[in-house]
């Protein structure tokens, strides 16, 4: 009964990295701006739709993969397309922050929730207007899987999954590098830790907030793009469940903690995938039970410190 | 009597409270003042006594009259703050803690209602208790808050908020009242009045007060006993006249080399 366990764990790792990419943006925004962005899931969906258009266009320019080399080219084109799709989210996120979120930072939390909920609804219809009401599948999944990866090791693990894990690791690595090593990243951290003091050394918190929200949107969109080039498709309400799961992930990991988001995501991903085949009925409940247990035992989450990115 | 026994509390590498043993209320209505430079551990000690912090080591004990003249010891080290209030232990805060969106009267009313064990009452109106209102009126008068009785707390000048904080503590009819810098930020002319009120109330109701205070004039005039903390330890304990006589104490406390 349990001989497939390693496969389930591998599937969980892949799923965890998908969750991580979505949750990372949410946790950054929350960590720095202190705003729980309910529209995050829609930005993720937005990324998926944009990826449908951009990746679809780009792969239309290259041939379907026929051998390992063309497959690699194909894969590269898809990845570039996904990045381009996520990049579209940068101005979207920045505009949302500057136009809508900024005026209400000093309002009560609940109004921020209401505002981001309103944005969620509006974004949904923006997508409906642009891409229509039906699910869209860019259909590059098969082409991606034509790149041989794990077959070389005799494991039947779709190349797409390998790509997601690799990309997820790169995203994590990049984020850690950004916040630990770059000037801008450390300025962002300083702003998160102490807004006033950051101002007092010359940081424009307005700009940092815009940047961070744009970044959050970028990673949400990138997560969406990665899903959209995978076996799933882009559809309007696709953001709801990842949004709720992202809450779970960042709470388990500790609010504002990147490492926490990664560990939380992998924990949720692997647990869900390992439990699901044996106890299907628990699939929905697993992440939440996990979160309740973590919060009751460690109220701060596994890593987190409030408002600090680490 | 309220007693600290070998209390110790560390934060990281910092020993905020280091093996402190003290007794308060050895005489009825005693006024003890705790003084010491910033960082001496005064507030930490009060937090340990009132249950905001749990000590790493040591215990907090109250000696209670068991009714037939003898006293029993009751250890309250692990007791929740609200339970300590029942045991007669009340405090005010250095940073004002009042209910910002309530009026002054409402603030006092909650305290008095709580003291009377009425807070679970849902059948009456909060302002429908004559006895409570009389007490609130008394407190308002006692702390000169009548004029601002219907002002919302967060619109009050700092001094009045401070007075309100202290007044709420008095509304709880404490046996032991721990006051963390009750006069900090209070206008100078009102300072005397605040401390005078505390002294009077302490006398009248046999309340033992433990007050953190920086103003040495006040300490000199009102202290029955002085406790000097320095670097987490009890540096001196005794008569307030020490302030005049003890050179080392003056240096530590006032930063004055003489």
């Amino acid at each position: 009964m349990f001989e497939s366990l390693p496969y389930h764990a591998l599937n969980g790792v892949y799923y965890g990295f998908i969750l991580f990419m979505i949750a990372a943006g949410l946790t950054i925004v929350f960590g720095v701006l202190g705003v729980l962005n309910l529209a995050h899931g829609e930005l993720y969906a937005f990324g998926a739709f944009v990826a449908f258009s951009i990746v679809g266009y780009l792969t239309g320019l290259v041939a379907e993969p026929t051998g390992p080399v063309t497959a690699l080219i194909f894969g590269a084109v898809v990845l570039v397309g996904s990045l381009a799709a996520a990049a579209v989210l940068l101005p979207v996120g920045a505009t949302l922050e500057a136009a809508f979120v900024r005026p209400i930072y000093d309002r009560d939390d609940v109004y921020q929730l209401l505002l981001t909920y309103a944005l969620l609804l509006i974004l949904t219809d923006v997508m409906k207007f642009v891409w229509g009401a039906k699910p869209l599948d860019v259909g590059v999944y098969d082409g991606l899987n034509a790149i041989p990866t794990t077959e070389l090791f005799g494991i039947d693990y779709p190349t797409y999954n390998v790509v997601v894990v690799a990309v997820g690791l790169v995203v994590f690595g990049w984020l850690v590098w950004f916040f630990d090593r770059t000037k801008t990243g450390r300025i962002v951290r300083a702003t998160a830790i102490d807004r006033e003091m950051a101002t007092a050394i010359g940081v424009s918190t307005d700009r940092i907030f815009t940047l961070v929200f744009a970044m959050g949107a970028f990673f949400a969109g990138f997560g969406g793009a990665m899903v959209s080039i995978g076996p799933g498709s882009a559809y309007l309400e696709m953001g709801l469940s990842p949004l709720v799961l992202s809450f779970v992930v960042i709470v388990i990991g500790g609010l504002g903690s990147l490492r926490g988001a990664l560990v939380g995501a992998l924990l949720v991903g692997v647990t869900t995938q390992v439990v699901t085949p044996y106890y299907s009925e628990l699939e929905l409940a697993v992440p939440f039970v996990l979160m309740v247990v973590v919060l009751l035992v460690r109220p701060e989450g596994l890593y987190g410190t409030w408002g600090e990115i680490e | 009597m309220l007693e600290a026994r070998n209390l110790r509390k560390t934060f990281g590498e910092l020993r905020a409270t280091d093996d402190v043993s003290l007794q308060f209320g050895t005489t009825d209505g005693e006024m003890v003042f705790i003084v010491g430079p910033n960082g001496a551990g005064k507030t930490t000690l009060v937090n340990l006594l009132t249950g905001l912090l749990t000590p790493d080591q040591g215990s907090v004990v109250v000696h209670q009259d068991d009714g037939d003249g003898s006293t029993v010891e009751r250890e309250i080290t692990g007791l929740a703050p609200e339970k300590r209030v029942d045991a007669g232990l009340v405090r005010s805060f250095q940073i004002v803690h009042v209910f910002e969106e309530m009026t002054v009267r409402e603030n006092l009313r909650v305290a008095v209602l709580s003291e009377r064990g009425e807070t679970l009452n849902v059948l009456s109106f909060d302002d429908g208790h004559d006895g409570v209102e009389r007490t609130v009126d008394d407190l308002l008068a006692q702390f000169r808050l009548e004029d601002v009785a219907d002002e919302v707390a967060d619109t009050l000048p700092h001094g009045d908020r401070k007075l309100l904080d202290v007044a709420m503590s008095f509304g709880l009819e404490p046996t032991y009242l721990l006051l963390d810098e009750p006069t900090a930020g209070v206008a100078t002319r009102e300072k005397e009045y605040v401390i005078e009120t505390i002294a009077e109330a302490s006398d009248a109701d046999d309340v033992t007060t433990v007050t953190i205070e920086h103003d040495m004039d006040i300490v000199k005039s009102y202290a029955d006993r002085l406790v000097v903390l320095h670097e987490g330890r009890v540096f001196r304990e005794g008569d307030p006249s020490l302030l005049e006589t003890d050179g080392e104490l003056r240096r530590v406390l006032l930063g004055v080399d003489e």
Binding site: Y15, K134, M238 | -
Partner: protein, 443 residues
């Protein structure tokens, strides 16, 4: 029960001659079938003298118009609109045109129905959701405005929960039909003797659970096969690899899946990517073809058979059944999709009601009341491009069930079915008044 399916070369289960008798000469039936030539220009004037109001018929359809389930819902909408268009082009129902309002069903089925009734709708159609339909039935009975469900195929609904419904009908067959058609198809492809083990991957809600249960009892009856795995990914899942992995681990002869919409594409994509077709001989799915327009050529590659409920657009063949002749091109030019079974859900629901209403006007000589239309709908027979349908005395639809091998068509740029088998209603669904479970047990 023999389990012996009729093939597509038969007459399609229902005898044409019987069917034509039931048409009763109504122009409408012909219009709906999409072929006025069927009875030439011999028009029937009986409804023209009837006492019928002038204003159009207000009709409401609730269906999933957006998001993941729109894969099915929009097809139903296209179907209903196409039927309405044809009816109106042909002069309406006893001279009355139909005005169709479409609304997204969401999770608010009862609320939607109430709103339609409050707006004064003469008839309502929908929903897709089976749970939503179940919730609506008593409300429909209370309000007394006829609703013909497009879908909502809970098996037990009219068998056990509401055996005495008056105003609530369902055009689609109940889901026992699809599950049993899948059983029969599997037996036909692999042979009963070669099926020793089976597995299931079904959406984790009432529909998926029911379908799996029905498939299990059916296949065990016919082949004595043993279930080796049954997984239930949540509806609208992001990932099914756990279940595919388990299937790979247990290597069943047949895999059954009632996944639909995005779940169906997800399943096929992950099944291919994880090499599931190396581990199993056959995948049968009653509603996979619902995603015909969202599949790609590589996804339909493999031993995959899909049901298409009571309608597959190439069956009966257009050369033999002219009403279907123009349909695909009409739908493709109008909506840029090939029609699927859910198209017929919408088309058929509207047609069922419209033909019944027309028949009622014929009989009564005036516009019928709700209960009169309802009475006529019981046991009502009518044609659509899919052939002949009846609404049983138990208020649910009975029509032929279609099943075939998934294949790719460059011509249509969509998935198609090849080697379509057609199962007569009596072979795959219990007679009205019999509970499905009991019926299968009695095989």
């Amino acid at each position: 029960m023999t389990g012996r399916p009729s093939s597509s070369n038969d007459t399609g289960g229902i005898e044409r001659r019987d069917a034509l008798k039931l048409v009763g000469g109504s122009t409408l039936a012909v219009a709906l079938a999409g072929c006025t030539a069927l009875i030439g220009d011999e028009s029937d004037d009986s409804t023209e003298d009837a006492d019928v109001p002038d204003e159009p018929i207000e009709a409401g359809l609730q269906t999933f118009t957006e998001g993941a389930p729109a894969v099915l819902g929009l097809q139903a909408q296209y179907g209903a609109e196409t039927a309405v268009r044809r009816i109106n082009d042909d002069g309406g129902v006893a001279g009355r045109e139909i005005d169709l309002d479409v609304v997204n069903e969401g999770d608010e089925h009862i609320q939607n129905y109430r709103q339609f009734v409050d707006e004064g709708k003469d008839v309502t159609f929908g929903p897709i959701s089976s749970g939503g339909h179940e919730a609506m039935v008593p409300e429909i009975e209370d309000r007394g405005v006829v609703n013909v469900a497009t879908d909502g195929t809970v098996t037990t609904l009219y068998e056990e929960s509401f055996p005495d419904a008056t105003y609530s009908f369902r055009f689609q067959n109940h889901d026992v039909m699809e599950a049993l058609a899948a059983v029969n198809q599997a037996v036909e492809v692999l042979g009963a003797d070669s099926i020793d083990t089976y597995a299931g991957i079904n959406p984790n809600y009432a529909f998926g659970q029911d379908e799996m249960a029905l498939f299990s009892s059916g296949i065990e009856k016919l082949t004595g096969a043993e279930e080796v795995y049954s997984g239930f990914p949540e509806l609208g899942a992001d990932d099914m690899s756990a279940h595919v992995t388990e299937v790979n681990g247990t290597e069943p002869d047949v895999v059954f899946s009632s996944c639909w919409g995005g779940d169906a594409t997800l399943l096929l994509e992950q099944a291919h990517a994880n090499g599931m077709f190396d581990s199993t001989d056959l995948l049968v799915g009653p509603v996979l073809y619902g995603s015909a327009n969202d599949l790609s050529a590589d996804l339909v590659d493999g031993p995959i058979y899909s049901g298409s409920r009571n309608f597959y657009w190439d069956e009966p063949g257009t050369d033999r059944w002219t009403p279907a002749a123009d349909l695909v091109s009409e739908v493709q030019s109008e909506y840029d999709v090939v029609p699927t079974a859910h198209f017929m859900s919408g088309y058929g629901a509207v047609t069922a009601w419209a033909t019944a209403a027309e028949k009622a006007v014929d009989v009564l000589g005036r516009w019928p009341e709700q209960d009169e239309i309802a009475a006529i709908l019981e046991g009502h027979g009518f044609f659509t491009p899919a052939g002949y349908h009846t609404i049983g005395a138990d208020h649910q639809g009975y029509s032929n069930a279609h099943f075939g091998e998934l294949a790719w068509s460059d011509e249509y740029d969509a998935a198609i079915l090849e080697n379509v088998s057609v199962f007569a209603p009596k072979d795959v669904s219990p007679p009205p008044g019999t509970v499905s479970g009991d019926w299968i047990d009695a095989w």
